[in-house]
């Protein structure tokens, strides 16, 4: 049996040689590390973004890649947990030696991941993670394509003014960093718009029964119910609002879950006439937006929405920066990213500093959509509206 370990050793050495050669050959590729929730409760979003990243990378590679080398995407699953996201980012940086990082879905995970990237000085373009704090720390290697969550409410302010008659608000949010951060901003914006927040309640994502907080909401009779929720919580909230016969003038969702097709499919009739903030829809007047939507639908036979568009745009921004960078050193890529000024399917991208924020993209418009007869229609701002918004929402029993 003595010879056996020796044989094994030879095999190991050979294997190692193969791996090393492979490594040398693969080094010609530009490695892009992407942190996304591919399993866990947020996996649906991770899937849409992953597919969009892959689609964009394929197109970029087919068009000649980056200075002759190809983009190689390395996905790591953050499972929706900050500690896992942190470890995943560390692995991408120290073991896989990625050139640049992107992705980042939930705010809590993104915050942990960007801290690691900053520490190792690897540029990180945040795709989604939208809590304001992430670009408020002065991190010079962190960029964000997604507008901050405090801006999700902006188009609602003008819509509410136009619609009129809204004086009180119930604010429901999931008890995570994204939810808390959004709720704080919306509460402030509502106050300055003269709307009184009569109920403000957080909840634990994944609950079966929302009736305890909804009973409170029903008692307070608000004019608008604003919810910051992921997809299935959003569907259950609306279904149970219908059950309890809660009739405000307006049901509004603050991004995240309310724009996914699954929301409408699960909530069915209860989803009708619900408004949602969104950053993008296939109707936006940006070049490539409609094409992206159609290509995605054709390739994967399922619908995409604003999270996918962000991922698709992010890939193009990263590719653009890599093309312009003097070398693939982190510092040069950082400088190239900072000088970004381009149009993507998601919208114009330029990283600016304003307020406490640094290297933050700002979209010219965010939108309000409304589910009408099972279809999501852009209804606000008026200039982009495809359909007239329906206001006030009729009582449940008056609907056909």
């Amino acid at each position: 049996m003595r010879a056996y370990p020796k044989g094994l050793l030879t095999v190991a050495v050979l294997l190692l040689a193969v791996v090393l050669c492979g490594g040398v050959m693969a080094a010609e590729n530009v490695k892009v590390g992407i942190v996304l929730p591919l399993t866990g409760a947020q996996a649906k979003f991770g899937e849409i973004e992953k597919r969009s990243f892959e689609m964009a990378a394929e197109e970029i590679n087919a068009a000649g890649g980056i200075k002759g080398s190809k983009l190689e995407l390395l996905f790591e699953d953050d499972t929706g947990k900050p500690d896992v996201g942190r470890a995943a980012t560390e692995k991408l940086i120290s073991r896989d030696k990625v050139t640049v990082l992107t992705g980042g879905y939930s705010s809590a995970v993104t915050q942990a991941a960007t801290a690691v990237a900053q520490q190792f000085k690897v540029p990180f373009l945040v795709t989604t993670g939208s809590a304001d704090e992430i670009t408020e720390k002065g991190y010079d290697y962190i960029f964000r394509i997604n507008p901050t969550s405090s801006e999700y409410f902006d188009p609602f302010e003008t819509l509410i003014q136009k619609a009129g008659g809204i004086k009180t608000m119930a604010l429901l949010y999931e008890n995570t960093q994204f939810g808390q951060s959004s709720a704080k901003d919306v509460e402030g914006a509502a106050k300055s718009a003269g709307i009184q927040v009569v109920v403000k309640e957080g909840y634990q994502a994944g609950a079966i029964d929302f009736k305890p907080i909804l009973s409170k909401v029903k008692g307070a009779k608000p004019d608008i119910i604003y919810m910051v929720s992921y997809v299935m919580d959003a569907a259950l909230l609306m279904a149970q609002c219908k059950e309890l016969d809660i009739n405000p003038k307006m049901f509004a969702g603050g991004g995240a879950g309310f724009t996914l097709p699954e929301f409408q499919q699960k909530a069915a009739a209860a989803a009708d006439l619900v408004y949602s903030a969104t950053l993008w829809s296939e109707d936006v007047p940006y070049k490539g937006a409609k094409e992206y939507f159609n290509k995605f639908k054709k390739k994967y036979n399922s619908e995409t929405e604003y999270h996918g568009a962000e991922a698709y745009g992010s890939m193009y921004v990263v590719a653009d920066a890599l093309k312009r960078a003097k070398s693939f050193s982190p510092n040069d890529i950082r400088d190239a990213l900072a000088a970004t000024d381009m149009m993507t399917a998601f919208g114009p991208v330029k990283f600016i500093s304003y307020g406490k924020k640094t290297q933050q993209n700002k979209l010219p418009n965010t939108f309000v959509v409304q589910w009408q007869k099972g279809k999501m229609e852009t209804v606000w701002p008026e200039a982009f509206a495809k359909k007239k918004y329906i206001f006030p929402t009729p009582a449940w029993k008056d609907r056909k």
């Binding site: 409760a41 899937e47 909840y203 305890p212 299935m232 309890l244």
Partner: protein, 290 residues
Amino acid sequence: MGILLQTIVAGLLKGGLYALIGIGMTLIMGVMGIINLAHGQMMMVAMYIAYVLNTMGVDPYFSLLVAMPTLFLLGVLIQKYLLNPLIKVDTILPENQVLMTVGIGMVLTEVIRFIFKSDYKYVTTSYSSATFFLGGISFNVPLTIAFFIALAFTAAMFWFLIKTDLGRSIRATAQDKDAATLMGINTGRITVVTMGLGAALVAAAGCLLAPVYYIFPDLGGPFTAKAFVITILGGLGSTVGAILGGITLGMAESLGATYLGMEYEDIVGLAIFVAVLLFLPGGFKRLTKV
């Protein structure tokens, strides 16, 4: 007053379902002395069975008739071929059966993810959000039905354990395995049957939950945790305890959500868990004696 009543009703209905989730685990814990950490994952598998049947037009309540036997079989196979062989193996860890259940839970999750992807699935029924009102208090129809079916199953389980031969053998094994073996009970077979029963009961809970909730591969974990809390609240191996434990947890979550804030839902449940461990070790079984 309306809000208080509504909260109590909501807690009670949810508690009935929790009881059914917990009762299988408490049974397994009582007989085998191990925590089945794949319990929620088994429920998840049952929910996917309900989902697949639903796409063929079968009502989730009828899918009980398929999901329960299927999960019974799954439980039997797991116990017979994965858990029982471990008893004979000497290791430094005496609780390697528990570790095995963790692994089984992961495998179930990933197999389901492989087949169905991470997508959210849901069972669509005409009555998913049907409600009736009783003096201004709303009762969700599927949750109310689930509550009564859960009570019926629990009662049947109780009768089975007290009155039948097999039930007595299960209780005997739970009380003292060695003595039971000496009295001529095939304890190996009893453990297999118990695991099957536990899996079938949680399958029932899954089918009843399906119309009101949604289905995704990672759903098992939180429900395993809930079942564990219920088992500890009720006392190991106590059917009546599991009912009390389930309803206590449901009520506590509901009342906590209304009067403390819904973001504390899980904290309230776990605070009660700790309180029971401190002040009533052994759970409600100590009070009910059964």
